[in-house]
Amino acid sequence: MASGGASVDRLHGSTDVRLERLKGRLFEIALVAATLVGIVSLVVLFGYIAFDTFQPLTASIQWYLIYIGTLVTPTAAFTLYARRHPPIREANAKAFAVIGGALLVSLVTYIVADALDPYDVLLYVLFGAIPPAVIGAYARRSPDRTYTGPAVVVSTLVGIALAAGLYGVLRPIVGIIAQWVAYVGIVTLPVGAIVAQSVSRRWSLRRAALAVALVLVGTLAVAVGALVAGIEPSLPVVLFSGAVVPIGYVVGDTVANEPEGRIGVLGPFVLIGSVALGAFIERSVGVQGPESYLTPSLLLNSWHGRNAFEAGIYPQLVGSIVIVGFMSLLAFPVAIGAAVYLEEYVSDSGWRGRLATLLEVNISNLAGVPSVVYGLLGLALFRNTLGFGTGVVIAAAGTLGFLILPIVIVSAQEALRSVPDSLRQAAYGMGASRWQTLRTVVIPEAFPGILTGTILALARAIGETAPLVIIAVATTTYTSPDGLFSTAAALPLQIFAARSHPDPAFRHGIVPATAVVLLILMLMMNTTAILLRNRYDRDTHE
């Protein structure tokens, strides 16, 4: 039968089918090759930079053996153990997050406040935070909260403006107190407030008062101890109230309330203990470690033009953080405001709709404008038009702010767009106004996405070099910026300057080491973004 023969034919396959399959194979191989080329070249590049930075060949075999024994083995064993038990793994991750996060936040707070002058920072923090706190406390008692939201915003702005206006009068008054007391105001009080909030919500007001008293007394004890020992108490105070208190709270809470996973909190301590043990053995045996360029002195010293082992990038590190911090203050509200307007307010039709479409097209194009061009814009605006000094912090922050503005707008728009319309419908259907819908449903739902996009933009901005060169930020600086109008300093610029240093130790040691610092900063930002997003996804969408 003819039809039977045809179906057998089809089952056996023909040259056509085989050819198609071969093409598919080849395509797959091409894809694998493309992926590998990208990844392998990146790995090689990073390996090369890391090799130059850490100089692994200069260390002796014994050094490696010591650290494999004290650091790698116990940490790996603990990690493997924790991974097999979900509650332990969770507690472990939490402990790492709180320890890393708290240390990082308090150190950054300290170095920024230290650079900008702690008294100034205290002044602005007090004037910016106390009015809204008072209004919030009042609103909690009164049933009518119609005006609370706007009042909080306005009072903060008024407070900051007041502090700026009365600066001449207030600064000398604030200046009477000891420096560490200023840090108590900047770090201890906010931490105390957060602890109080958390404790009172979970247990009772009495316990909250007790906890706050404990924090204050502890801080005081640390300060007195430091004074007695003859150390300047500022950093100990910040580390105690900014890191020890939150770490103690979270770790203690986990140990007390999560019996299944409590072992997990040991993770970070195992790591720290192993490093300390390794260092101790290394010191006492006297083995030769690697002659790494990434040392504490690189992070803590000022720049040194002649000796590579004395050169440090502290001013640049602080400068980069300060610039990016001010930049987010400038760009974040503007970008999010624009995104919310374009996404939620503008109608699709009419002249406004057309205007919005035009704007959106332009914004996506702006995201691709070369950063050098933004440098020119910054130069024209901040120096030539507004007459700010050459290469000052505010000019750098503003220029980078323009640079990331379109990126943040686009990512915030995407985050808003990903909020399902059914949620808006639900809110409107309940009789919520547009503002209420935005505030209670849309923005909270879009917020992690907005935050992720923003942090990624910050990570991009911290590495930008060209626009800073154009606005004439000094490539080599010896002091950290101490205010909005002081000369800026930035890590990528120092890399750029050291690259042309006559001494090869600078070109092949300091440059990669600084690049590693920059990469680590960027990685930390990206990790934060990912952690925030995952955490939020788990919290609300389980």
Partner: protein, 278 residues
């Protein structure tokens, strides 16, 4: 429809006088929604044609018809959700308690506080169960006795027993049927007068559907329920009145449910109900 007096609940702020005409004679206190020549256009396209309808208070009114015939459109006219669609335009007159819903002084936000809505797909907020039910009360600034009101709403939505010990849990962790009852509870918490339901059970399994149906029947004691459904048995089971919309957005017939299902006037409605098309 013997009473001719106006209801006391009529809002005094809204100028109803100008719209009161010859129709007033036919609208008694029993009628809560009255549609006269309501037409809706999406751009050039007409989705509803001259719909005339009077919906009685505290009864279940079902709207049935083939898909795309404008059932949802009509429902969204009542609480002005169509305002959110840029292209939508509503003609004709639609009165709620005698007040023109599209009158210049009516605030759609205020209107929606009195006309609640439950959607086809359960759409709880990604918040806790408690916060979902309390949502309307909070945005309306009625935060006194919040716990009691939340509990009462959950009870009226026949959900309280199932969730009473997990009010702080995410609403998204509930099953589809529970989520839909939560949405009903959220709607009940603010004490609306009318509850609009757009195919509230179409995304649910049979057990959850029958729970929702029981719930709707019990709601009719206190509320006016207007429910869109594509399930004719459902309409026959739970409704007092049935409106049949047919393709093109015209109201083909509107009568007591029994009459519609046993002895419809028009041949097309009978064909539709007996499953000859649609």
């Amino acid at each position: 429809m013997s009473e001719h007096e106006r209801t006391q609940t009529q809002p005094s702020t809204v100028d109803a006088e100008s719209t009161v005409g010859e129709d007033e004679q036919s609208t008694g206190a029993r009628t809560v929604i009255e549609a006269r020549d309501v037409s809706v256009y999406y751009g050039q396209e007409q989705a509803l044609q001259d719909v005339d309808l009077e919906i009685p208070r505290r009864q279940v009114t079902a709207i049935i018809g083939p898909s795309g015939c404008g059932k949802s459109t009509f429902l969204r006219c009542i609480n002005r959700m169509n305002d959110l669609v840029d292209a939508a335009r509503v003609d004709g007159r639609l009165r709620f308690d005698g007040t023109d819903v599209y009158g210049p002084e009516v605030d759609p936000v205020a209107l929606r506080r009195r006309v609640g809505m439950v959607f086809q797909h359960p759409n709880p907020f990604p918040k806790s169960i408690y916060d979902n039910v309390a949502y309307g009360l909070r945005i309306h600034g009625r935060t006194d006795e919040l716990d009691e009101r939340v509990e009462r709403a959950l009870q009226r939505a026949a959900l309280f027993e199932e969730v009473s010990d997990q009010l702080e849990k995410s609403a998204l962790a509930l099953s589809g049927g529970q989520q839909q009852r939560l949405c009903i509870a959220r709607c009940l918490a603010v004490d609306p007068e009318i509850i609009l339901m757009d195919e509230p059970a179409s995304a649910l399994d049979p057990v959850a559907t029958s729970k929702i149906e029981d719930l709707i029947e019990s709601l009719a004691e206190e509320y006016t329920v207007i429910i869109v459904t594509h399930n004719m048995q459902q309409a026959a089971r739970i409704s007092d009145q049935t409106a049949v919309f047919l393709t093109g957005g015209e109201l083909a017939e509107y009568d007591d449910t029994d009459t519609i299902f046993e002895d419809p006037d028009s041949q097309r409605v009978e064909d539709y109900i007996t499953g000859k098309f649609g």
